[in-house]
Symmetry: C2
Subunit: 208 residues, 2 copies
DNA sequence: GTCTATAGACCGATAGAC
DNA sequence: GTCTATCGGTCTATAGAC
């Protein structure tokens, strides 16, 4: 991925570029399927069909289904890191957190946010072994953790909640099924849905 | 289930009682596994092993894995209906909603709340075809819907949110992964976890 | 003795892996 | 394109209740 974003890499052969491009297409397809049906229900045949390549070719890129999914989720985590560094640092910390939550919700409604694996899935171990994913996760957690503590210090965020509880809540809202429920009802636009869920997340269900 | 609780049913043979008791054990085991790993990852061999019976015996009780899971989830829905009718009606509607959320969270921490199936799972169709489940779901939704509108009318609940959004949020919190995250951190007791998540749910992350 | 439910072997399809 | 493991589902002989 760094190969496509950093400019001074002219030494890539055509083959290598094709390889990377294909890998990119695979990852995009995997994230869509992961968001749609989850890891267990996703088959590698589906992935191959979606990308339009032979199943065997997948195994030239990834040693296993777990690794495939872990790489795809590491990519999402990388996008999150990129988003965070782009957030306007002059904004108050609460607004930075809100912007982040809004972004993750948009990602989910766009079908690009993988649903998180159940507690004991084989995916979990693959994720834990994926350094890209774990590094991204740590960077995201550290950044959000700082913002959370700053927002608690300036009085905008509930200071009685442990920061880790806030952090986990933000992670969970990125995969909140409420978005899908409301979308399935067909009564609201994506923006309306996001604003409603953001409101319940930050302001709560009770009247203020 | 009604057979063991209602007194005037002496016509049940021991065989039938055994049958019902075993069915009960099966359902309990299924709900545990469903909560633990989800429908796709759960195998019927595991269920049989957990209950301590042969797999074929399962199929004397339930025609398919989907039906098995649907029956188990219908049981949970039935428990929810029972809980709702037992909620103190003299409490204000907001407190009734809070008590309900607290109860569902306790259920999840106890490992008795099945994780909800992904959007297109085969379980979904089985659930839609299960009248017990659908009846319970409708009863629960109607009851909660009334409480929600009452709580909005008396000013305790945010009246700007569509009632259906509140309803979906309460359903989603019953399966909120934040509970599992916090439990996994090992730093908080179950009661502390529930109170924290309840607080974020009803009061929001922002300071009041 | 009959009849039902059980247990464990068994089958076919499918999905991961190569 | 093939191999193999696994999983949902079935078959049959047997044990036990009546």
């Amino acid at each position: 991925m760094s190969a496509v974003s950093t400019a001074p890499s002219p030494k890539l052969s055509f083959r290598q570029q094709m390889h990377l491009a294909r890998e990119d297409a695979i990852i995009v397809a995997v994230n869509r399927l992961l968001a749609d049906k989850g890891f267990d229900a996703m088959t590698v045949d589906e992935v191959a069909a979606e990308v339009g390549i032979a199943k065997a070719s997948l195994y030239k890129h990834f040693p296993s289904k777990e690794d495939l999914a872990a790489t795809a989720m590491a990519r999402v985590m990388q996008r999150a890191v990129s988003f965070l560094v782009g957030v306007d640092p002059t904004q108050p910390p609460l607004e930075r957190l809100r912007a982040t939550a809004r972004w993750t919700m948009g990602l989910q409604l766009a079908g690009e946010m993988p649903s998180l694996p159940s507690e004991n899935s084989s995916l979990r171990t693959a994720l834990a072994a994926n350094t890209d994913y774990m590094d991204g996760l740590m960077t995201v957690s550290d950044t959000l953790g700082e913002w959370i503590e700053a927002a608690q210090a300036d009085g905008s965020l509930d200071a009685q909640l442990p920061p880790v509880a806030v952090l986990y809540t933000l992670y969970a809202r990125a995969c909140d099924p409420v978005l899908g429920f409301l979308k399935g009802s067909g009564q609201y636009s994506d923006d309306e849905i996001i604003e409603m869920v953001l409101r319940t997340c930050f302001n709560g269900l009770c009247r203020r």
